[in-house]
Symmetry: C2
């Protein structure tokens, strides 16, 4: 646990991935992050995968290092408590992350009436407030139709909720940026981050919309071929599959040398009149001629023969390995100081990730697990809202908090 | 263009996607972002897609709103200029984003000797400094083997460089967080963000590693089925394909009503003894029985019949549409205030994305295009490094800058 954001108090009223990862990153940098949920759990509280106990491994992964408050959000008293939490006083409070509707009881106008300098980061599906999630936004921008083997016309959804994850990190960025501005006297504001705008802007930022405009159509699907340079999956003599990438001239020359296909490639250059070293695009254009040379070179070598030469020559490659094998890989999980064994609310003990950046000058503190639902209800109502134990007991008895 | 980060000066020495998107987001929030590149362009300067002029649509998309300085980084004088830029004085300077090697001429120790309170955000491939890019990290954590149709064993790479994009937004978050800490007296620091740690931590945060540990294997591939709840692609009578998702009870009930399959689903509940409304996981477990009911309901209706009912009932769905069609969709591109027409360095005029969040209280300024390579060399050397025009002319004549 690093401490760059120590002293900040962030309230999170969100579910699923984007809002919760925003809160997670903030908490892992030392902010106090208070997540409130409906009594019994929000819509993500039973999200798969589940532990044998029935607890959600997803929920306890995404809510590590946070505090949990449980409120009955179906009742006016519970909703008022949520509003008061989001807008509670304190110089480095007034930071709220949510995916609740823009026009509901956690709307900007209701919250700003309680705290004018509030910073409210609101994750949305569609920009107009319509329901959209990673899968439905992704299909609407064309990615699944660009994904997968060229010989199979079926669209392929990504299994990584990439838009959610990008939105979550982006939300954390906008929140701390708005705090910087607030400290400079800029006041509070709402920041709306629709997945739909994140997706549309991202495709445009990478030149994909300009390309579609110029060509009249989106990029065709091409399996695992890397677009515009050299890259694809290849299979070794012993059946191992590896992803090989050569974008820079150095990467290209290194791999030709190790695979001993420099002569054949030079002959192809003479025939086609291009320089593959100088023109990464030529490697893509002529990949139909290049790939067979690589395929036979890989088919003559085992992974054990190739891996050390690849490493020694700085070749950019990666094995295809299932997650259970990756978990034994010392460069990813086993022995990686980002991870440590933690006992989670599910009752299971397994390695949990700390902050995924490394600050060499700062020490890593132990990874803190997710809270039990409602674990901090009393402490937060007392500490943040200044309630007496009598008031809290009354709310508990009335079933407004748990 | 919003102004939350007005007054900050960030220097970027990076290439490809992660570092440049970090700089892009900072620039689009009003920071002065100065990117330096090798004379003639860095390794991403000719990255596809290309405009007819040969200019990279990718480069000009990812470097909007920045300033460009061109240096000969192969020579000691050029490298020294890069070091001086990264560490130039100024209270809100000393912010450096890079993907240069951790142990090279832009190492932390060399830079910190020039400016002790520098904040250096370093995007890396593997945490040990080994070469890794989105494609090769992705294959190593198992995602391509989880992606795609269950009847096809070939791994499917994602076409969206999700790890790069996530790392870029995360880098922007850490940079601003470190600035908050620096202002509070915490000094400078290096922040290393390896794609490998971002990927490993993300899979763990979503419970996927815990799941693999408990089951002994990673999640099997399952085509477009949404894991753990209800979701898949379906085809309408007129051949339109849509992604349908029902995670919350409300979403589930709404879609049964519109598709008029409540009775058949209730019969299945009686037979299996589960409540699909109450248990999202049961919808996944029994999807083999549920999907045919949905398939026939979709096959009896056209998209034009379904879309208005879906919208009216808040169903979570999205069309599968290619990017060229998405570009006509008013919810994504056409008429979206995030976008505006800009003439780019390639000479092409096309819609470019501004900041993908919306701050309703703040006005959007026009989208600023990418610079020409080296467009701001003289101005930055004079303004940031305080060089005289004579010194700059000497460097130009010597080919150290361009």
């Amino acid at each position: 646990m690093y401490e760059l954001l120590r002293g900040l108090r962030v309230v999170e009223g969100s579910a699923f991935i984007a809002g919760p990862t925003c809160g997670l990153y903030l908490a892992q940098l030392g902010a106090e992050v208070i997540r409130f949920d409906n009594i019994g759990g929000g819509p993500d509280f039973r999200r798969w995968p589940l532990a044998p106990s029935g607890a959600s491994l997803y929920w306890e992964g995404l809510n590590k290092a946070k505090k949990s408050v449980a409120l009955d959000l179906s009742r006016p008293e519970g909703r008022e408590l949520a509003q008061r939490l989001a807008t509670a006083p304190g110089e480095d409070g007034g930071l709220f992350v949510t995916n609740f509707p823009a026009d509901g009881f956690l709307s900007w106008s209701r919250l700003a009436a309680l705290r004018a300098d509030l910073i409210c980061v609101r994750v949305m599906g569609w920009a107009d407030g319509g329901p959209g999630v990673d899968y439905t936004i992704n299909s609407a921008v064309g990615i699944p139709q660009m994904t997968g083997a060229a010989d199979d016309p079926r669209p392929v959804n990504h299994v990584l909720p990439a838009w959610d994850l990008l939105t979550g990190a982006f939300a954390a960025f906008t929140l701390v940026s708005a705090l910087l501005a607030r400290r400079a006297g800029a006041g509070g504001r709402e920041i709306r981050i629709p997945l739909s705008d994140i997706a549309a802007a991202t495709l445009a930022n990478m030149g994909m919309t300009a390309e579609a405009k110029l060509t009249g159509h989106q990029r065709p699907r091409m399996g695992n071929d890397l677009y515009g340079a050299f890259g694809r999956d290849f299979t070794t003599r012993d059946g191992a599959r590896v992803m090989l990438v050569a974008i820079t001239p150095r990467q290209w020359k290194g791999v030709l040398e190790i695979l001993e296909i420099g002569g054949a490639v030079a002959a192809l250059e003479t025939e086609t009149g291009v320089s593959f070293a100088a023109d990464e695009g030529a490697r893509f254009t002529h990949r139909g001629r290049l790939f067979p040379l690589f395929e036979s070179a890989f088919a003559r070598r085992t992974l054990a023969e190739l891996a050390p030469s690849f490493e020694a020559h700085g070749v950019c490659w990666g094995p295809y390995q299932p997650l259970e094998q990756a978990m034994l890989d010392p460069r990813l999980f086993a022995g990686n100081p980002v991870f440590s064994d933690v006992t989670h609310p599910s009752g299971e003990t397994y390695p949990a990730a700390g902050f995924p950046a490394t600050l060499p000058q700062d020490g890593r503190a132990p990874v803190r697990p997710a809270p039990r639902l409602g674990e901090h209800t009393d402490a937060v109502l007392a500490g943040v809202l200044g309630m007496s134990s009598g008031e809290i007991a009354r709310l508990r008895d009335a079933g407004v908090v748990a």
